[in-house]
């Protein structure tokens, strides 16, 4: 049980660190966080395998409509800003045209089975890098175009991010189908002997070490580099930080990008043994990350890591000694109890909200 607690503790800290960063720096409860986890698993599977699953034709129409709508919106915005008359062939025109061209070629390749010049089978590491870049870009766009317009109204942020999460879920159902897709792993499944005669699944072991390394990297990034200190400064006082030369908008983008990549990596390394890529796997990580951040205090990195180990212990304790059907309830009860009894969290100061 200690083994399981440690592994799940590392997993939950990966999820919660990013969530705490956004919560602390931008004061935004990002309910889309779990979807980054799910997208990590899905995109990694998509980019690192030859296309074993066949995409249905419904997906073609949906993607086509979305692409065209995006391009039309972009052109209309450019026209409203009256830049089209002045710049004839410039960034404003070439970008949507380029996107349209590339997207159409990609759709043709995907759906009409034009023979590919190169076999679409990336190395696992290349697939990992491509999917993480995709998630990072997506998170920055979400921050800019979805969260920014409603940033001042926190309840609106909640509604819009949870609607977006369900939107993505249904979109993934349309593209990949309801059934689970096995996620490839970096290592073959075998039991690895540890000290004192205990053994451990190799997938879990690799997740454990990757998680520890990532936590250390984030810790160093936050405390030793300029941008990390900028994030902490904005978390303390946005106005004062911006007077000191820290750009809050850049910090928000950086925080959401970092948190999305952390969640995506957690998805890539956890999905092979926890649950395969399914369209519903975003909800549980979200609840867990949220409960941990609430328990650890808003925006407190050390508190989040400690709280994730505490909650992992309680969850596994409930599972092994009380009842496995009560496992999921631990986190929900923690959320409600902490919010009602001690809204500033275990390690947060009073008035930090």
């Amino acid at each position: 049980m200690i083994q399981t607690t440690l592994i799940y503790g590392v997993f939950y800290s990966l999820l919660a660190l990013g969530f705490a960063l956004i919560f602390g720096a931008a004061r935004v409860v990002n309910l889309y966080h779990g979807t980054f986890y799910m997208l990590g698993a899905y995109l990694f599977t998509t980019f690192s395998k030859t296309s074993q699953f066949r995409l249905p034709s419904v997906a073609y129409w949906i993607l086509q409509i979305i692409i065209i709508a995006c391009v039309v919106y972009y052109v209309m915005r450019a026209m409203r800003e009256r830049k089209i008359e002045t710049i004839h062939i410039g960034k404003r025109i070439s970008l949507p045209v380029g996107i349209l061209f590339v997207a159409q070629v990609a759709l043709l390749l995907l759906f009409f089975r034009v023979p590919l010049p190169i076999a679409w089978h990336f190395n696992l590491f290349v697939g990992l890098v491509i999917s993480m870049i995709f998630i990072a870009v997506l998170s920055i766009y979400i921050n800019r175009y979805i969260i920014d317009p409603v940033r001042d109204r926190q309840v609106a942020v909640l509604i819009i991010t949870i609607a977006l999460a369900f939107f993505t879920e249904r979109l993934l159902v349309a593209i990949y189908g309801e059934s689970a897709i096995p996620v490839p792993s970096f290592i073959k499944t075998r039991a690895i002997g540890l000290m004192l005669g205990t053994t451990m699944d190799s997938k879990r072991l690799i997740m454990f070490f990757v998680g520890i390394v990532l936590i250390i990297i984030v810790w160093l990034l936050m405390n030793k580099t300029k941008i990390g200190k900028g994030v902490l400064a904005v978390a303390q006082d946005k106005e004062a930080a911006s007077l000191m030369g820290v750009n809050p908008n850049f910090v928000f983008s950086f925080a959401i990008c970092l948190s999305a990549v952390l969640a995506g990596l957690a998805g890539v390394f956890t999905a092979p043994f926890l649950a395969d890529a399914q369209p519903e796997i975003w909800l549980n990580p979200l609840i867990k990350a949220f409960a941990i951040v609430i328990l650890g205090g808003l925006g407190s990195i050390f508190g989040s890591i400690l709280a994730s180990f505490i909650l992992a212990f309680f969850e596994k304790f409930t599972k092994y000694y009380i009842s496995s059907s009560l496992e999921e309830i631990v986190f929900l009860v923690v959320i409600i109890a902490i919010l009602i009894l001690r809204p500033q969290g275990l390690f947060g100061k009073k008035g930090q909200l």
């Binding site: 409860v29 249905p56 034709s57 419904v58 073609y60 129409w61 949906i62 979805i146 317009p149 409603v150 926190q154 309840v155 609106a156 942020v157 909640l158 509604i159 819009i160 949870i162 609607a163 977006l164 369900f166 939107f167 249904r170 979109l171 159902v173 349309a174 609840i287 949220f290 059907s325 009560l326 999921e328 309830i329 929900l332 009860v333 959320i335 409600i336 919010l339 009602i340 809204p343 909200l353």
Partner: protein, 383 residues
């Protein structure tokens, strides 16, 4: 509205100076239209239009009660599906699961409760039990406001889904046979007569519309608005805001519970997947489309979205008829799920006041532009 806005904007755009409400004639005509809907069933003998209207009516009840608490009083409650689920599961338990026996491993087991309650008692009971839960949650969440209240109630909704999905079937072997993955075979409320069911739901809808409309347009409504705008100031005037917040929580939960019982009766089943977060998002999208903080918005938004979905269905059918592309109808089925979420995102980003409110507002502005400025002065003098 500060002094700045008042001095800059023309008089007819300042909110509050013109009352933007649909005319009474329009409302009366619409209710008459609703009363005539079962004619479609009598003529064509197909039930799906009437069923669609029944579900729209039930959603209008949910949306109005959510709007009373969240739009009008400003206590954003993301656990409304909890109250709906309480009502629905009460029907499931007292009409099927608790009152019917089961054969487990060849042994006949008697029902847990010997008496069958009449439907009216179950419906009122759904409202009362929902109200009790609303009272409890309202008292528990008194200290919370804004996003923290929203998240705490959202967590309670998840807790309810977990409870009905995992714990409830494990309580008793009879419940395990009847309540795993939902309770089905709920008896018809009116013996299969869909017209009668339609009129009952319409009656409940009109009663709750009148109730919500009266309470928000009275002095109490002003008080609730004051709580939404500035709770500290309202408290400082000497008003017991705690009492009103808890009271509105209870009333809202009462109507949600009653609507939940009708939801279970009209689809003849109740399951955790009917009352999960999807339901909450549907309710929210209805309110956002109609405009929050206007009870009529929840009423209008339900039909607006229903007609929009109906129109999209017709367009998809038309396109698939004329173009021979088989994917369109399938794509529409996927879109029906996505539609509500897309509506939420688009409306929140581009029309924060709601589609219907902004249409009314824009048409008011257009009306005065056509009419000319001297009449604006005359209208101002009238109001």
């Amino acid at each position: 509205m500060g002094e700045f806005t008042k001095s800059v904007l023309p008089v007819y755009i300042v909110p509050g100076t013109r009352k933007l409400k649909p005319s009474k004639w329009f409302t009366a005509l619409f209710i008459l239209f609703l009363a005539l809907v079962p004619i479609h069933y009598i003529i064509t003998d197909s039930t799906w239009i009437v069923k669609l209207f029944i579900s729209a009516n039930i959603f209008a009840i949910f949306a109005m009660s959510w709007d009373l608490l969240s739009g009008y009083t400003g206590q954003e409650n993301f656990g409304h599906h909890f109250f709906v689920g309480v009502g629905g599961y009460l029907v499931g338990l007292f009409a099927v699961a608790l009152v019917s026996g089961a054969t487990i491993k060849g042994v006949e087991m008697p029902a847990l409760i010997g008496v069958k309650l009449p439907a009216i008692v179950i419906i009122l009971g759904g409202g009362v039990v929902g109200a009790i839960f609303g009272l409890l949650i309202g008292i528990l969440c008194l200290r919370l406001a804004g996003p923290y209240l929203a998240l705490a109630t959202l967590a309670m909704g998840f807790l309810f889904v977990e409870f009905t999905d995992r714990i409830l079937p494990g309580l008793n072997p009879i419940l395990e046979t009847h309540a795993t993955e939902g309770i089905y075979n709920i008896p018809h409320l009116t013996g299969g007569n869909i017209t009668q069911l339609y009129y009952i739901v319409l009656g409940v809808l009109i009663v709750s519309l009148l109730f919500h409309y009266t309470i928000t347009r009275s002095n109490y409504g002003l008080l609730l608005k004051a709580i939404r705008e500035d709770e500290t100031a309202t408290k400082a005037v000497g008003i017991n805001t705690t009492f009103y917040k808890v009271m509105i929580f209870t009333i809202s939960a009462f109507f949600a519970g009653i609507g939940g019982t009708f939801l279970a009766y009209s689809v003849e089943a109740i399951a955790a997947s009917y009352v999960d977060t999807h339901l909450l998002l549907k309710i929210i999208s209805i309110c956002i489309v109609g405009g929050m903080g206007t009870i009529t918005g929840g009423f209008g938004g339900a039909y607006f979205l229903m007609f929009a979905l109906l129109g999209m269905d017709e367009i998809a059918r038309f396109l698939s008829d004329i173009t021979d592309i088989s994917g369109i109808r399938e794509a529409y089925k996927v879109f029906e799920d996505i539609f509500y979420y897309a509506v939420i995102i688009i409306v929140m980003l581009f029309m924060p006041e709601g589609i219907i409110t902004s249409i009314i507002k824009k048409s008011t502005v257009l009306y005065y532009k056509v009419k000319g400025p001297q009449n604006v002065q005359a209208d101002k003098a009238e109001t």
